[in-house]
Symmetry: C2
Subunit: 382 residues, 2 copies
């Protein structure tokens, strides 16, 4: 048992639940998440049956190797070990009732990005809660659509499981096994905890990014010419599909609204303080400074790569000609010296034939990397 | 003249001003920006004199080749062509009065990130406005400190110049020449326009990022374990130096406050709409949807790399073992096929020995890159 990835806790202690690997599964809903789950299970040798209310979508998923179409009579050979409801949050409970009514599987789970809403609706519909274990794999991607599906979408990411008091132990173990088969890291919490947490780290930030980006809609073109990487980062996720996000926010309205109310109040207070500064009261700037300091403290708590703080790496900047093969030569030089580049970002200067690569390495390797690059003829910033 | 980079407009028409390259310069203030300007001028063969109220800082800058220490008697051989005031916004006017009193140069400019404040103070101090041309090079970096200085900090970036009615034409041409010597792209606008634009694209986004990040300060550790790249992007700039940003926001309080008030109002409205949704009024979600759509529209207006929209490139995802030399091999394969990788991002899965590289290429090269990588044995996501 000790080699099971679920025993490596993701930030908090993993559950001492059993792990039962499903041998057969029905995946209901063949969008990005459902198809990715199906692909991951197929790679694990699990028999997968596919169902979508759009038969063409299910055929497409089957066509890329995600499984076989579910016959109208259900899975041949009796109920599958598990059914995965990969449908929008508001559709989970009705699909669950339908699937349980047909006896499609011995255990049921979902992948919706909110948990209290489908659970409450499942109770209202008097679904069987001994066999339904709500869950949410966090893929960490903003893309959507079955074309983006891939077997490793969940690799190393948290897979939140919300066991219910009513649950059979085997149902929890099967959902844990599903997460492990998808190479994710199972984490247990209640549906309410889950919803509050994703409101904070995902749903509210999306609206905040949108509110900042909305200011740019009517801006003078010349203003946007002065934009730098900071603005691009703050607003990047605002480019996501508004329809999908409307659904998510509607389904988690209470927790998301509470976070946003705090952010709005802090910004209104900052705006008022800046008005006082503009009117000559320079001391009012301390309210703004206090918010900036809380922001720095909050940002420093976000886990970075490899689970450590985001600032663990040293950054080496190097100027590279913008032509094929240059980055290869650079990485080869680093690799030959035994230096592992942990991350790389490239910033191009508009209209100019060079770019600046930012190479993140462990701090103890930075000096050596600078020497290696300088020896290779690249201008390194010091 | 037509080869001069200043004739390549950065998003808006460049001025039809003359360009006079300075042959000598005094740089006052040897922090990140001042030292970088000095290094760029030195690479251009300009004679540079350094001055800082902390003599040790000036000696450090001289030690890394940024120029010579300015003698107490001023530049030998008479006034320099230009003096660059690289001091905090609130210190510009006093330094200008002092430098003009000593007759250090024939023309003066500054590099402060706000323009109306130092200009107003210079008027109050009755500085000579025929020879002072306010300016602001946008380096696009959040780092600070002289150790981060580099000659190419401004390469290809906008250098805003705010000519005054009082200015001598030669003073404007010399400041334009300074920007050109630093390989930046001169853009002319008024001080008020500048301040409104940087409030929108830089100062307000910083406070917005801080307000979102501030919500994380007291969050449960388990919540932050669910964080993805979206949260990291939205809050990244909140990690910047709160002291420096307090100064910047204080100096541009009016314009920054106005942008923030709008953002706060939009977020408060979204929070109120979500409260109504939580209370059962699902139609209230349309207010949130409208904000999300404005956000998508605004985000799409931000110029991306090479001046085009940020979504011009196709992204190819490939799984790479997390060990030295792997990226080199990958880039070499792409380079050998004549494919130019425009950008690359790497996402590591915590605790696992593989990462996912996202390679941005021109859309027409994506299919070929996928083939090349698949042929090289890398698992490519399709």
């Amino acid at each position: 048992m000790s080699e099971h990835p679920w025993q490596q806790p993701h930030r908090q202690a993993a559950p001492r639940a059993g792990v039962i690997e499903p041998r057969s599964a029905v995946v209901i809903g063949t969008g990005l998440i459902g198809t990715s789950v199906a692909l991951a299970l197929r790679e694990h040798g699990v028999t997968v049956w596919l169902l979508d209310r759009d038969p063409e979508s299910a055929r497409l998923a089957a066509g890329i190797g995600a499984g076989m179409l579910l016959p109208d009579s259900g899975a041949p050979g009796g109920p599958a070990d598990i059914a995965v409801l990969a449908v929008p949050p508001a559709a989970v409970a009705a699909e669950l009732a339908r699937a349980q009514g047909r006896g499609l599987a011995n255990c049921y789970t979902d992948v919706a990005s909110v948990k209290a809403l489908p659970l409450g609706q499942a109770r209202d519909l008097q679904c069987d809660l001994t066999s339904y274990v709500p869950a949410h794999p966090l893929s960490g991607r903003e893309r959507s659509g079955p074309a983006a599906a891939r077997a490793d979408l969940f690799l190393g990411r948290p897979w939140v499981i919300c066991p219910l008091a009513e649950n059979d132990a085997d149902a929890i173990s099967l959902v844990t096994g599903l997460a492990v088969a998808c190479q994710a890291q199972p984490v247990q919490m209640s549906a309410e905890e889950h919803d509050q947490r994703v409101a904070l780290v995902s749903h509210a930030p999306h609206v905040v990014a949108a509110a900042m980006a909305a200011r740019l809609e009517l801006a003078a073109p010349g203003a946007l010419g002065l934009a730098g990487q900071g603005l691009r980062d703050v607003t990047r996720i605002a480019g996501g599909d508004p329809g999908m996000w409307r659904q998510i926010l509607t389904a988690n309205a209470g927790p998301a609204g509470r976070v946003l109310r705090h952010v709005a109040a802090d910004l209104e207070q900052a705006a008022a303080a800046l008005d006082r500064v503009a009117a000559g009261d320079e001391l009012a700037a301390k309210d703004v400074a206090e918010l900036l300091e809380r922001g720095t403290a909050g940002a420093s708590r976000i886990p970075g790569k490899r689970g450590g703080p985001a600032r663990d790496f040293a950054v080496v900047q190097v100027i590279i000609p913008d032509r094929p093969g240059e980055l290869a030569r650079l990485f080869r030089a680093a690799g030959d010296a035994g230096i592992n580049i942990e991350d790389v970002g490239i910033e191009h200067s508009p209209g100019l034939p060079v770019g600046v690569a930012e190479l993140s390495v462990r701090p103890e390797a930075a000096a050596q990397l600078r020497s290696v690059l300088a020896a290779g003829g690249w201008p390194v910033r010091r």
